[in-house]
Amino acid sequence: MSVPHPLLQSILIPLIAAIVIVIAGKKLKEIAGWISCGSLIYSTIMLTLAGMRIWVNPAPIYEEYAWSELAKLKFGLLADGLSLPVALIANLICAACAAYSIPYIRHRIELIYGGDDWGLYRFYFVLYTFFAIGFTGISLSTNLIEMYLFVELVLIPFYFLMDLFGYIDRHRIAIMCFIWSHVSAALFLVGAVLAYVKIGSFEISSLSSLMGMDALLVCFFILIGWLIKMAVFGFHVWVPWVHAEHPTCIAAILATIVGLGNYVIVRLLVQHLFATFKIFSIPLMIWALITMVYGAFLTLAQDDVKRLCACSTISQNAYSLLGIASCTALGVVGGVFYFISHIIGKCILFSVAGILVYQTGMRDMKRLGGLASKMPLTAALFVIGAMILSAIPPLSGFQAEWIMFVGIFRQGFQGSTTGLLIALIGIFATFLTLIYTFWPIKRIFFGPLPDELKNVKRAPLVMTMPLLILAIISIILGVYPDILMKFLNSAISLS
């Protein structure tokens, strides 16, 4: 059984769904959400089928469509061991959050605009679907311009979603986020154009023909562009604001946007410009280390549930960067694995934070407490999310973390004492994760129940079930990591 064009379908079907939602108009009401969610589930299935094909026969799937003769551009979609898992998991997270936002966004609109506004509701899901397509596109694209366009497809709806449905200071933060993300996208574009000028092609696979200074410059621009998006120390200040003020269902996916930098770095630089990328190895590792430690302390300093999740993204994402920057096969594979594991975990944590806001209207941990008795499933989900982040088996975080650290330690023993020191500080920094995830559990869910929370109800199943599915996927990856490792191993081969 072979489905025709599975990759194109995974992008096209949600696109069609978005158009259907636009045409059908306001009378769809909540069905708009289900259409969007359904189309994303469909593309998840398509990607799974593609994945099964690769599992059986480890040759990449490549689809190519004519696009523009002028710049010799082709619209290519490539699913190999690296891009497919990333696309699949990102898509799955988007599908889960689509289901989650069906009640959530209605509630949000009610709060901001007073009463149901099905026009806005429909608009949300149109934007959301575009947004979700962007991730699949970025992962599967084969040339730099295509990738840039998909980045824009993520960023523009991102601005509107924040401006229309965000929290307190949403107009200002939306502009801020827009500027930050476009500075980063512009730098990436500079790198892409520079590469085109030198080699006359936007194809990712031809990046490897860059030499010397040119390679260094291209590498630098692409790297710095994505590092801003990855919120490394110094460029991290947009993350707490943007994550905290976004509607939760988008914030839950934000870790994916932030983390996608890891994938792009591996895809572009590690796979095709490895010799040049190696020059940046030690500085990047030190930078990642500073981000890890600083991010952890910053997270510990938060009292707001949503800002807590936001700040932990800064720290968590730097783990993956540390692994990738170690320039060892294990480090890179582990780094990508950790990225995938982290976005699942972060999606769960953020969504739980959203459930808390949805059910209690409170974000301040100083006022929360004892909620485990009122919403046991939600509490269990938060604990699972915390376990993924702090690498407690049988969840996926543990497998990812040790594989990654084998790579980091290997780099440490090949290189100087600095490398070893980085590895040791790095692994001890993971200890901080445990504190900043499990301490909030105690603050939010344990202890006596404050009087103002006596009437809190359980969260609707439509919000918790998608998270439970994500948790189960994380458990599966943790119990039998070869499902993912087989893909990643086939794609990443370094000396």
Binding site: V237, S373, F438, K442, Y480
Partner: protein
Amino acid sequence: MFETLRMFYAPWICWVSPFIGSILSLFIGGEDDVKLKGMIASTFTGISWIMALLMLPDILKPGLRDVWIGWITLPYGEPIRAGILLDPLSIILVNIVSFISLLVMVYSIKYMEEEYGQARYWSLMSLFVGGMLLLVLADNFIFFFIGWKIVGFCSYALIGHYYMDEKKYWIGGPPPHPFEKPSTCGLKALIVTSLGDVAMLAGILIIYLYAGTFNFLTLISTTDIWMTKMAANPGIITLTIILLLGGPIAKSAQFPLHVWLPEAMAGPAPVSALIHAATMVKAGVFIVARLFPIFFNGYWVNGFSEAFNFFSIIAILGTLTAFITAANALVSLELKKILAYSTMSQIGYMMLGLGVAGMSVNATITGYVGGLYHLLSHALFKAALFLCAGLVIHVTGSIYIHDKGLNRKYMPMTWIFMWFSALSLAGVPPFSGFWSKDEILMACVNAGQYGLFLIALLTAGITCFYSIRMIGYIFHSRSGELEEGHGEPKLMWIPFGILSSLTLILGLIGYWLGGILHDTFREYFINVLGIPLTASAHTPASLTEVIIPSLSIVMLLVAGTPAYIFYISHKMDSWKLVNANAALRLFHKILWNRWYIDKLYTITFVKGLHLLRPIVQRYIEDPIDFFLNIGVPRFFAIMCSGIRRIQTGIASINILYILIFLTSMVMIILVVI
């Protein structure tokens, strides 16, 4: 057919079964259905025990039991396999763990009757047992570490079982002294043990980088190759040893990471029994015993002097812990806290035994067997003591020993079995605690570590004193005995009855049991692991075999007599004695405050963190935030208004701009060309 089942599947079923029990007990039965959930959890633990019994005949035929799946494939590496290692160590441990867990589970069915959170409790208890069995049976570091982390997580969740922090579940006090809440205690346990776990993981990864394998047996057989590579960089072996030992030191609550265990009794009593006797703290001793042959090989066979640190570190830390925590138990007033201190102290003995075993070839078998034998007898009497304590606290409604005053006539079973277990803890012959402690003392002398021997001997005296003090306060108090009859439910006293009877039975055959264990492990070391145990010229005189038991019996009498006078016959009052003497008062204060170690940690780490939180936000994050998110936009705003000012719209000025522009362009072109 039966043989295949026994040989190949028994170990797998053994550790998988509690995991299944965990899932089933979570979903089957209503929230309050303690009977059904308890039956499910007990049944699956029971299956584990039967499987463990089936493994017993294999005690001397070690080897990897079949591996089904390549589990994790690494780029350019051998696949990591999920495999089972059966050797005397794992078979003995599996039997202890599954048997005690089964009894604790049965006890819990009655104990947990009126508590909340049934589904959570039974599911986590099963997972706890499953994790421990997994870590014992695992044949490689990664597989082992998964069990290790699961055990740590379950202990966190179970210690904090009463997460609502109701006042009746607080521990600490009595009133002028501060109380601790269960959820804090759980968090403390998780954080302290995880610090050790992180260190251990680092150690494991370093070993992997040199050895290229996680498999224990391969690590032992190829020690010469990989340790040679390691020894090329001086300091690396020592660093690895320290990192590796971080895990067991934290998990087994040894100094300096011992602070979590006294608070770990905030959970229900069966949880404490499991943590102390079977599943949590024993894991540390187990892994030290598991790693023992590696470093033994490294030092005694291949002569890497740094490998010796492994043994000296655990021996010294073990002795230190044994002493300081035993001293703490002298003054403690909470029943379960006394038991917790005694656990740390007894684990210290086990560590000491394993440590001295590696310090001299003469002491190897005695020390190694002593450590494991003590693990066995401690598991029995400590589980029994905790289960008794659960019943006693339930009946009296107080966590303290000094306001109990139970009448032994109304709780005869508890009285007699608690005495049995306490005497075994004290190391009184003929209970099993005597024989196992004796082995360890003997090993110290055989290894020529007289300093450690003296401290251990002194600690044995202290142990005897506080054991009698504890029982005396509970059952032989002078004032106000509780007259009312309280039932002793069968489901509760039978489990601890079995355990404490076993400690007597094992004690009666203790001498021969020790002999069997000696032969088993000598056989295992020499023929299976291929480690030669050539004793040097100095063979221990048979005289020591008489002197040491006599010395320890003398010590018991020296310490036991005053304890009897103070707490059972009440001829003298210990409070008066302490209050009259300033030095004793000071000593009491230091002990009561746990040598101030706990306070020091709290001030440095907990208070420090709380101090750091606003500093990070205010002095690092806010300035960066202000600079980038407000400063830079403001800079552009000022630039804009500046530029706006020169846009006057007057034609002559604009012409001037054009002229300036043109001249500068010409200049640039000229310069470039």
